[in-house]
Symmetry: C2
Subunit: 428 residues, 2 copies
């Protein structure tokens, strides 16, 4: 089963909108074992939209059209599908009533244009899921192949609004494609989030396991470097049932965790921030951060996580050196040192009355500071009262990249340092 | 002149990387008056890459291939172009030496694989710009059209690394396309950055001007809502020379500024952060920020701007209420109020010894706080000593969207409030 994606919209060609929909659909197709060899972007022009769909039908068994289902003159996908299916556009009464009801339910008058959205090629049916006002379409079509045999093909149309599109793809398009492909196998994937090794370092640690999996063919592994999100290792397993696929994933996760140990900080949607907040919450500890070069990025990332407020007390952004001296009681002197980082962590912990303090100070560039090159970063964590047996640890690193990358790597590195200490405390 | 983009890489089809390169190239082509009707993504498969390029050559006069120029087995673009041009791959000695020198200059051993990058189809030439180790290619090809006439076409190949790609497109590909198209007209664009009105509000303010420009056809306007980057108004002008295009832009900018007044905060690469920092620097003032719901995002955005350190002293992230009371001397009581925001701004200004203080406090959600719904945000700015004639201003807003959007709109809104006061001070 081969399926192509045709993204429709002049704004995509003009670069006014980045086509993230096709990427998301491509990922879903791959995860569910459906081949996809081409993706095409085409503007709001009837002939060219029809041409792009016809070409995709020559190369593949199914086509997903994304976009162009709105209520305006520019929205040509319905018309294009009438041409492709060779069947006239008809008004669907039930759908007209449904759309009318949607507007009435919100106490709004329905613009007459929206009735256009109740039109469908006569041979097409609507996609069951309809989270917005634009219905999706399933259009069966037939073509004669080079061998003279009839090919039963299908064109789906989904709106360009991401959450509407995603619900239709997951709810109808993928299951329908799998049914047409006679796929009985189920694919499931799980992503281990790691931090502390490069991609080639991970590949070395896992070399034996990768060779074994390559030989067996199932599950498979993929690496993906993701900046501040860590380095991801995705496991994909295929099995006759969801239960069996999940159990393959669980077994493989256990194997990889044995090999990678502490490098694995989370799974799937975990972030280093959410993991650290969860550990602190479980330990009944609160956190304060002192930031120099990151300027508030550590705090901002922590606050991205809903519910951060029961753990995260806040922080001090001590960008100027004398804010470090005056507000955080850092001894006067050089500030790109591990000693200064420790003093910042101790100071912010005390000032904000938190159990745990962490701090970063360093050179984001473009210019050197205190004769240190950009990328030089000192960081520290203080867990508990340092004068009563608390843990104090610090680190000096040389990070690669430009200003933004240095600051982002600083965020995940210091949170990773804190995580290691929290895990140790928990396992004591 | 029609030009298509073919983005090459299996990782693009699998959704592991979002294809932002094609969007950027599409925008450049449009800006320079070159039509682009299709963009295609294709995986690392020789036959399919060749097929995608051949198809694009049937539909268009030029093709830009992006990606697949690296040194590994997966990188098939050179090979595909050998097929398309019908000329063998040859090693280019000068390029071999150049690449060798690049590695030697960095004190690194060159992996043998990198010599692959010195190969080119015999009839192709290298693109002059080469910011990385992957050279770009210009490949003239000829095809016979449906009318039997010879068509002189061209295929460009650029690497997938965005900054390498961009330098080659701007430096060689666009000028070469314009030369081939016999384009003598020059296109220039300028973007006004606005904040404070919705897209439809702007359209209303500019209705008369838009009608006049639509009638004249040159320059043209486009609106683009860009979240924390503000609402952009792009002016594009066409003229026989760059000087004339620039002077059209300048005249139109003046017209629009008359109509939009204080809504325009910057031009092109200006951000609200860079504009506020520039104003403060010009006035010899320093800044401190107190953040609650944004958790450090204001400080982090300010520090994105190189050179922030001579203005931005730092801040306090007072996420927990008692950090507001204890560290910033906010009177005990409700914290989602304009009074609390003012107290935070006054407090952080004094604590950090800055000339200007700003503060935000509010509800990012998902849960209400102090019976206020998500999106309720109070903000304040204090310019100068409030007990010696300094300016104190505050604002209460109800922002739309989810947790992230509320926090992002908070950042640009409070910086916009500060900007207005700094502009007033400057014009006093």
């Amino acid at each position: 089963m081969r399926c192509e994606v045709v993204a429709i919209g002049t704004e995509l060609l003009l670069g006014q909108i980045v086509d993230t929909n096709s990427s998301w659909i491509g990922e879903q197709l791959a995860l569910h074992g459906i081949d996809s060899f081409f993706q095409t972007k085409v503007g709001d022009n009837l002939d060219r939209v029809v041409g792009a769909i016809e070409l995709a039908l020559e190369r593949s068994d199914a086509v997903i059209c994304c976009g162009g289902l709105g209520p305006t003159q520019d929205d040509l996908t319905r018309e294009a599908l009438a041409v492709v299916t060779g069947s006239p556009l008809v008004s669907d009464e039930a759908m007209e009533e449904h759309i009318f009801g949607l507007f009435a339910g919100r106490g709004r008058r329905m613009p007459a244009n929206n009735l256009l959205q109740a039109m469908r090629p006569e041979t097409a049916s609507f996609i069951e899921q309809m989270p917005g006002t634009a219905p999706g379409l399933v259009c069966p079509v037939q073509r004669v192949g080079a061998d003279g045999a009839t090919r039963d093909l299908v064109v789906y149309a989904v709106p360009g609004v991401p959450w509407e599109m995603q619900e239709m793809i997951s709810g109808t398009v993928i299951p329908d494609l799998q049914r047409r492909a006679g796929v009985t196998a189920v694919l499931r994937s799980r992503t281990l989030r790691t931090w502390g090794e490069t991609e080639s370092g991970l590949a070395e640690l896992l070399a034996g396991r990768i060779a074994a999996l390559d030989a067996a063919g199932n599950p498979t592994l993929a690496f993906l470097a993701s900046g501040m999100e860590g380095l991801k290792v995705r496991i994909t397993a295929k099995a006759p049932t969801a239960e069996e696929a999940e159990s393959l994933l669980a077994a493989e996760e256990a194997e990889l965790r044995d090999l990678l140990g502490e490098l694995v900080f989370g799974v799937d949607d975990d972030t280093m921030e959410s993991v650290v907040l969860d550990l602190l919450r479980a330990q009944g500890r609160t956190l304060a951060v002192a930031e120099s070069l990151t300027g508030g990025m550590i705090g901002s990332r922590l606050c991205d996580v809903p519910g951060a407020s029961d753990v995260f007390r806040g922080g001090v952004v001590s960008y100027a050196s004398d804010v470090k001296y005056d507000v955080l009681d850092v001894p006067t002197g050089p500030v790109v040192t591990e000693q200064a980082a420790i003093a910042m962590a101790v100071g912010v912990r005390r000032l904000l009355g938190a159990d745990v303090g962490l701090a970063v100070t360093g050179v984001a560039g473009p210019d050197p500071q205190e004769d240190q090159p950009p990328g030089t970063v000192c960081m520290a964590v203080v867990v508990g009262d340092p004068e009563a047996g608390g843990v104090v640890d610090s680190l000096r690193v040389q990070l690669p990249g430009g200003r933004r990358q240095i600051r982002e790597f600083t965020v995940i590195t210091v949170l990773g340092l804190l995580r290691r200490h929290l895990v140790e405390v928990a396992s004591d």
